[in-house]
Symmetry: C2
């Protein structure tokens, strides 16, 4: 039994109607869920290596891009560590998007995003993404309303280009409750080893919780395309969140039907060349 | 007991005098060595997280850069997987340097390298590096002799800048024998799951083994500085190679004497703000 994160049906989205503490599709316990995720590791690692091999040895442009979005403390970093951490780091490229720099602001919002798109064969991860440009940008009025309106279409077009260029785009909203966020922020304030994860600005964003929820709902509605659908991952239970995202990744890799690249050289001739080469110096 | 990779003394270097199958400083067996590396994992991960925390929460510019060099099949990728793979991928940035593109060739050889230097708080890895510009560039005469001569000093100056800017530079030559390379190339030709790792050009490079050795010896002699010393890691035994590099990384992180960043906010005041914030929507 594996976890199945919620696919969002087309149309308006009501995030309050999606339980943050549910474990849809999974009937096991927390310890079962942790073991199940570990159990996915070998196949995940094997398929990721095949994808990497394909990117290296063939002209294939296939790759996977995992986009992680969610409110502060929703666990983007933890998800990454527990899922992407199961595969060879060589084949992974992670990009964390913070507030844009002056240089980045001087360009279109997708400029810095395009530069971070993973190369063929890679598993790319966006820890926050171009969605910030229709989330915090909308809540904090960092751009004019018409510009934000334009961005939904620009995002859909950009993601269509990615998909047509061989990218599987996995968009996950890590969905937590406001109560759960309070507990996690308190935990950061109660543990000196976690102070570094806390920023006073987190409380300001928390005060705008309803505005963020509305911005997420609108973003999901406008960008939940057939080529790059959204997944809302109930994330109050960290173990379920990790299992759900790990399962999504595995399903994406399985869907690529990855083999091992054939030799583009004459194996016997190369073996003969090798054996004829001087053995030692 | 831990593995101590060989530090190269100043002066001329004779790589033939350094055994490729030795396990200097380590008296344990292969299975002991594998267990010892696993045993380093928790402390490595803890210290890496502290470094990451420092980079996030303070103005510190400290970071670690692991530079991996070695002949084909010396195991740069495997080393990376088994050592860097022990820490949170969030805090790792890996750059693999291939033959330079036309755009890269239009700039100074360090241009693409500078763009890949890890940000403060990160553990960066160079899988091949600026050293290729004095190795393959020398062997295949890709640059004029005076230009290559200039590069040793440019590298030393560049690495001095990195160190003065807070970077620990760990330079490792993964040292294998020509016989061991033959076995590893044969293994790639004997296993269809490894064909993707094989390139006919590997045999051409192998034919220039002595030239590469001389180029490495010269590079080591010229760039074995006090601020960024070289480590020659005997790498015929993969388990020792991994343990040695893991130990080097751990020693580097221990040397930073990493704590957890102090709060730069009033913890009690923030807790009060949080508890005063609306609990649910």
């Amino acid at each position: 039994m594996t976890a199945h994160p919620l696919h969002v049906p087309p149309g308006p989205v009501d995030l309050d109607a999606i339980a943050t503490d549910a474990t849809p599709g999974y009937g096991g316990s927390k310890s079962d869920g942790k073991a199940a995720l570990e159990g996915l590791g070998p196949e995940l690692a094997d398929l990721q290596e095949r994808l990497f091999a394909e990117g290296r040895a063939t002209g294939s442009r296939r790759r996977v891009l995992l986009v992680l979005q969610g409110m502060d403390t929703s666990g983007k970093g933890g998800t990454l560590r527990h899922t992407v951490g199961l595969v060879d780091p060589q084949g992974v490229r992670i990009s964390s998007f913070k507030a844009p720099t002056a240089d980045e602001l001087a360009h279109d919002f997708l400029w810095r995003i395009r530069r971070a798109v993973p190369a063929p064969g890679y598993l790319g991860v966006f820890d926050r993404s171009h969605y910030e440009d229709v989330l915090i940008a909308r809540v904090n009025e960092l751009a004019a309303p018409e510009e934000i309106e334009r961005r939904y279409d620009a995002i859909n077009e950009f993601e269509r280009e990615l998909v047509e260029d061989g990218t599987v785009v996995l968009k996950c909203l890590l969905h937590i409750s406001k109560d759960e966020q309070r507990e996690r922020l308190l935990a950061r304030l109660d543990n000196p080893e976690k102070y570094w994860k806390y920023e006073p600005g987190d409380i300001d964003a928390r005060a705008r919780w309803d505005d963020y929820r509305a911005a997420y709902e609108l973003a999901l509605e406008r960008t939940n395309t057939a080529h790059a659908p959204w997944h809302v991952v109930p994330s109050d239970r960290k173990w379920f969140r990790n299992l759900a995202v790990g399962t999504l990744l595995l399903d994406a890799l399985r869907g690529l039907d990855l083999g091992w690249p054939a030799a583009d050289f004459d194996v016997d001739a190369e073996r003969a060349r090798l054996l004829a080469s001087e053995a030692s110096t």
